[in-house]
Assembly symmetry: C2
Homo-oligomer: 245 residues x 2
Amino acid sequence: MVTKNELKKAKSLHQKKYRIQENSFFVEGEKSIKEFLASPLELKVLYSEQLEVFGAIKKGVSITSNELKYISALTHPSGHFAIFSLPEPQNVSFNDFLVGLDSVRDPGNLGTIIRLCDWFGIRDLVCSKDTVDCFNPKVVQSSMGSLSRVGVHYVDFDNFLATCPVPVLGADMHGTSIYETSIPKQGIWVLGNEANGLSEATKKRLSQTLSIPRYGNTQQTESLNVATATAILLSETRRKAASEM
Amino acid sequence: MVTKNELKKAKSLHQKKYRIQENSFFVEGEKSIKEFLASPLELKVLYSEQLEVFGAIKKGVSITSNELKYISALTHPSGHFAIFSLPEPQNVSFNDFLVGLDSVRDPGNLGTIIRLCDWFGIRDLVCSKDTVDCFNPKVVQSSMGSLSRVGVHYVDFDNFLATCPVPVLGADMHGTSIYETSIPKQGIWVLGNEANGLSEATKKRLSQTLSIPRYGNTQQTESLNVATATAILLSETRRKAASEM
């Protein structure tokens, strides 16, 4: 049995201020929940219409489909809703490549970038404070469990870059082609806001500006979407590192 | 002055069946509209709150902000709404690389892929008939004008691949690394549905199966999103072609 108060509290986690107040966020979908269960994060409660799919689980609570509909962030709820504690802040490691996001606002883009970091073995994603919250339900949803394996850090971005011990790399239309330049073994790729790109302050912190070559025969092609640009930069970074070993 | 009937007709273009019936689709936003105006497509009518931003334009009609709100597909209408004729079907050219989509359903993914094709100079995008319609308002919106420069063809996909004169390339987890294999100069990259990947029928048509290497140290990472996978495949295809010239 779930009380009305519990349901209300679960639903409040749609909003960032209550996630912070309750030190909690939620995950929906069997597959994503299982990935978080396998992570070091602490499960607070798992509401489910079918608890048996999670095997012998403590803190499991049966819930009706109507109750789930009330607390879910999905148009078609998945049948499962798990609340976890927010992770403890961790240190950023500079031993490998990092990704930095300067004012990325779209939850789908952040989720996709978290998934890319996971795929390419990037452990730390550093975000400006005005980047969308990684525990926003749409980000959790689109990161598909990868959020359980990538550390996302919200920092004073300019200060972070100013004191960053590794090269700061940015991409724009006027840099040297990523295909024709060597990429350092350690560094941070910084990517900017969907509409405005990198801020002027961030541009001043770049040690190197590279570009993704454009092959269209017009000059009109819009810049690449921030998530597809991240995909290409990380792929080329890993390819180069492997070919130079 | 816009009549009620005209507004109703404009709004009906949100739906595919009326786009086909009226042989029309619409574009919103000053920048996108200007890109379509520079394309060979025929403008039928341009509704705008500020016609002057388009210079001396025939077929411009002033519209109020409330009327625009009624016909717009956007939560925050851009102030401009242009209706164009659907393009005439064109032939597919096999002289350069193509992209093929097998049942891609998400409008944002298709829009992003159209933008990528434009960036990488891919002129033809071939789609299975159950791929989302490229004149869907969300696709037009997320392709940001690139749709005016990329030919999108809806075909019997299996039949198309069966008779396709160039190599058919697919990516999955088990193929040879794209970084370590040569990629032909001509061919078609096929990408599959968001949830299920390539269909069994399409898999049988592949001449080569390649993979995007994964660097994460777990085996749990979800497959890449279809648009980010396209980004990496096209980038690597163009990089290899340039380095082998």
